[in-house]
């Protein structure tokens, strides 16, 4: 997609909604903006129906501002809270079935490579913990085994959040939710380790508490996926609605987990990806 597609036919400017006009005149397409520029350009995400104080919504905002080439990016999503926001995103996006998002992204990426051999097109999967670690785990892992050139971003709110609060594989042991009254019986699925063993060239865990670090992980994952192989970023984004804390505590919940050492920022980069990143990141400076 190019900015061209968003242009308004001459004479029709007046009748287009203000939000759309703003996107055309000062959206992020074809401009080199990042999270540090938030608040100064029209964001790709428009007003959304996610809950007040939602960590996932904040992560989505930061994610969209972190894209290295929004005009050449396609996001493949899946069922979950993030899916409710995607109709409001000014970016090509596809809603997969619950679990097949990485299969869709694999096919799409291969087709885009054939159709645009000279222009990198970034295909990024953005799905929740349920879609990634439970329902879609098989297709997620097989895309990694095959080394597909796609980035997978898990928005980990540690629950099936928009269906009333069921535990997911990513809920911590002992979690009690509205629809998981007896407490979860096993540990959080070790997705970063699985990703690494399954052959991902870049794996990171991050959170929206540190926006710059978040941006770096997303950019790296997308860049490495272009040329080296599959990548995975796990974003810890707590859910006030199901975990029953106040909406203004979302970031302090992350800080608390950080302090306890339960949540850690980690990054794994294969030597090949390291070499590639050194070259592209060096180029930028």
């Amino acid at each position: 997609m190019t900015k061209q597609m968003f242009r308004i036919a001459p004479g029709f400017e007046e009748i287009m909604p203000q939000e759309y006009r703003d996107l055309v005149t000062h959206g992020p397409y074809d401009r080199n903006v990042g999270v540090a520029d938030l608040g100064t350009f029209k964001e790709l995400l428009e007003e959304h129906p996610l809950c007040a104080g939602c960590g996932l919504a904040l992560s989505l905002r930061l994610f969209l501002a972190s894209l290295p080439a929004p005009a050449d990016t396609v996001v493949v999503g899946s069922t979950g809270c993030s899916a409710i926001a995607f109709p409001q995103v000014g970016l090509h996006n596809i809603h997969g079935l619950f679990g097949n998002q990485n299969a869709i992204a694999s096919g799409l990426k291969r087709a885009l490579k054939l159709r645009f051999p000279d222009q990198p097109k970034d295909v990024v999967v953005v799905a929740g913990d349920g879609a990634t670690a439970d329902i879609g785990l098989e297709m997620v892992m097989h895309s990694w085994f095959r080394g597909e050139n796609i980035a997978t971003v898990m928005l980990d709110n540690e629950a099936y959040a928009n269906t009333g609060g069921q535990e997911s594989g990513m809920s911590p042991r002992g979690t009690v939710l509205n629809m998981a009254p007896t407490g979860k019986k096993f540990e959080k699925v070790a997705m970063p380790e699985i990703a690494r063993e399954a052959g991902c060239a870049y794996v990171a865990t991050t959170s929206p508490l540190h926006a710059r670090r978040f941006e770096k992980a997303i950019r790296r994952a997308i860049l490495v996926a272009r040329d080296v192989g599959s990548t995975y970023v796990q974003v810890f984004c707590p859910c006030p609605t199901n975990y029953k804390f106040r909406p203004d505590e979302t970031l302090s919940v992350i800080r608390k987990r950080e302090k306890e050492g339960v949540f850690q920022y980690r990054e794994y980069i294969t030597p090949q990806a390291q070499e590639y990143l050194a070259a592209v990141e060096g180029e930028k400076q």
């Binding site: 608040g39 959304h48 104080g53 930061l62 106040r246 970031l251 302090s252």
Partner: protein
């Protein structure tokens, strides 16, 4: 939308931390000339995250009154 964040301009130093904490897009804007932030109360959900991160206590949640701009 019954409450929204309000900025006390004299306290705001324009550090932009609130912009990076708000889960809602296009709510807090940065005014480059003044080096301050502005909140669009019609988009704010009143979650209070910006208030929690502001190091200068320049933000507070306030109940919206009848005279606030109506949602268009």
């Amino acid at each position: 939308m019954y409450a929204a964040a309000k900025v006390e301009l004299s306290r705001c130093t324009g550090c932009k931390l609130c912009i990076l904490a708000c889960p809602d897009p296009n709510v807090i804007c940065f005014l480059a000339d003044d080096k301050k932030v502005k909140v669009d109360v019609t988009r704010c959900k009143g979650c209070g995250l910006c208030v929690a991160v502001c190091p200068k206590a320049a933000l507070a949640l306030e109940a919206l009154t009848e005279s606030e701009p109506a949602r268009t």
